[in-house]
């Protein structure tokens, strides 16, 4: 039994859900964890923090972009109230911040399993093409653009439809020049410049979730074929697969990036060309990570053990379960609106205390 308290981020679960809640569920359902799940959120309307069946305490924290110093101070303040042993960051945009803060967090007794800042940077959308070229990994033709006037020039080479991507997150598929200019403005306003303009590949979409240890060895990985995809390109249904090709690709990428911690590899496979392209590398577990539990390799639990410095043995290949599919559902849950007010004004909720005082969270 692992006795500790874990802080999680990335708990929003709206139309583009983040993986935080899935990571919490994976660990809590393992039966090997005894402790609190502490939610760190930047926004009081982050939906996952109201899942009081999974989350024990909630704290508002400042955005890393506001000030890393403020974020560290707030975490130290929370740590003084509720001892946090491990932080499991689940948002791409904050991994570099936690990589920079990891030594200071360690000095106050908090472990974080993250790669170095350089590794995080190398796999970012801006540098991914360079990384793939260097390591002979297929990657879609792409260009960085800073000006909407560059769209038509690159579109002549890439052809429509093409993709426009924000430098950190978000993308849009443009079918013509007019759409491309509209998407350029939206993405540039939301995420800043540069943007990536990229060819739209044909093929089947796959995803690998993996965990790497401090020596950049893949402890375990689980691969999935997307069999149901939303308009935003997110899988809402998938089939777990066992592919030696993907196992080898995962090892190659982890070694090349000198990676440590969780990772998601988004892939496109074109069987006619016999090519597998890397589309994106995310520095966190994917949203569907709870399926890794069903597949016989609980990656978040293994990640927790690694973060705590425990010895981790890869689950035997033979224990991988076949024929697993996942589907994503959306459901509403309820609590009294005073807890939204409380999170806004006090900056925290202890669901454990609330449940001790009242059996009905609607009052």
């Amino acid at each position: 039994m692992i006795k500790c308290n874990i802080a999680f981020t990335g708990l929003d679960s709206t139309e583009n859900p983040y993986p935080g809640l899935s990571v919490v569920r994976s660990i809590k359902d393992s039966g090997e964890f005894e402790g609190k799940a502490v939610a760190l959120t930047y926004d009081s309307l982050c939906t996952g923090v109201y899942q009081h069946n999974l989350i024990d305490e909630v704290y508002l924290v400042p955005f890393p972009s506001e000030s890393e110093e403020l974020l560290f101070s707030r975490i130290a303040e929370i740590n003084a109230k509720t001892k946090i042993d491990v932080i499991m960051p689940c948002l791409d945009s904050e991994i570099a911040t936690y990589a920079r803060l990891s030594k200071r967090l360690k000095s106050i007794g908090i472990s974080v399993l993250v790669p170095t800042e350089d590794s995080v940077k190398m796999r970012s959308k801006i540098f991914l093409q360079e990384f793939c070229e260097k390591h002979k990994i297929s990657y879609p033709k792409s260009f960085l653009i800073n000006d909407p006037n560059q769209i038509d020039f690159h579109a002549a080479a890439l052809h429509y439809p093409l993709l426009l991507k924000g430098s950190i997150i978000d993308s849009a598929k443009a079918n013509n020049s007019i759409e491309a200019h509209v998407f350029f403005n939206r993405l540039a306003n939301e995420w800043g410049l540069p943007l990536i303009i990229q060819e739209c590949l044909d093929g089947e979409e796959y995803d690998i979730a993996l965990l790497a240890d401090r020596g950049s060895n893949v402890v375990a990985n689980v691969a999935m074929k997307k069999i149901g995809i939303t308009e935003r390109g997110k899988a809402y249904a998938g089939a777990i697969i066992a592919s030696r090709e993907f196992d080898e690709l995962a090892r190659k990428v982890v070694r090349a990036l000198k990676w440590e911690g969780p990772m998601e590899l988004e892939l496109m496979k074109n069987t006619n060309l016999n090519k597998t392209y890397i589309i994106e590398i995310n520095a966190r577990f994917p949203m569907w990570i709870y399926a890794s539990v069903a597949a016989g390799a609980n990656l978040p639990l293994l990640g927790l053990k690694l973060a705590l410095g425990k010895e981790v043995k890869p689950p035997p290949y033979s224990r991988r379960k076949k024929d697993i599919m996942f589907v994503r559902i959306v459901e509403d849950s309820f609590c009294n609106i005073k807890y939204l007010a409380q999170l806004n004004f006090k900056g925290e909720i202890s669901w454990n205390k609330v449940k001790c005082l009242s059996k009905n969270l609607l009052t």
Binding site: Y206, A239, I240
Partner: protein, 97 residues
């Protein structure tokens, strides 16, 4: 390419271990390839043929059974089995022994 009828009689097709099948004679069926993640829907005659392949029957024997089950000409049955085998091979979910 599919085999000619003369070469075809004693061929037995093997299914890779990565294929999971839910098939029953006379009913629609379903295949899942745990290597590629692809799923395939089978109509009732494809499901019939697949279930016979799994029993280890030769293709000529399967064609005979298809003839009596669906009351069709033997040559048409051979052609149907050949077509199905061709598709299995195309998707890497069946190969000649």
């Amino acid at each position: 390419m599919a085999k000619r009828v003369d070469d075809f009689r004693n061929v037995v097709v093997r299914i890779p271990a990565t294929i999971t099948a839910e098939v029953a004679e006379g009913k629609n069926g379903f295949l899942f390839d745990s290597n590629s993640g692809r799923v395939y829907a089978l109509n009732s005659s494809a499901s019939f043929i697949f279930s016979k392949i799994r029993e280890g029957l030769s293709l000529s024997e399967i064609a005979k059974q298809l003839t009596s089950r669906y009351n069709i000409d033997f040559n048409l049955a051979v052609s149907d089995v050949e077509d199905f085998l061709y598709q299995l091979k195309e998707f890497n979910i069946g190969y000649d022994e």
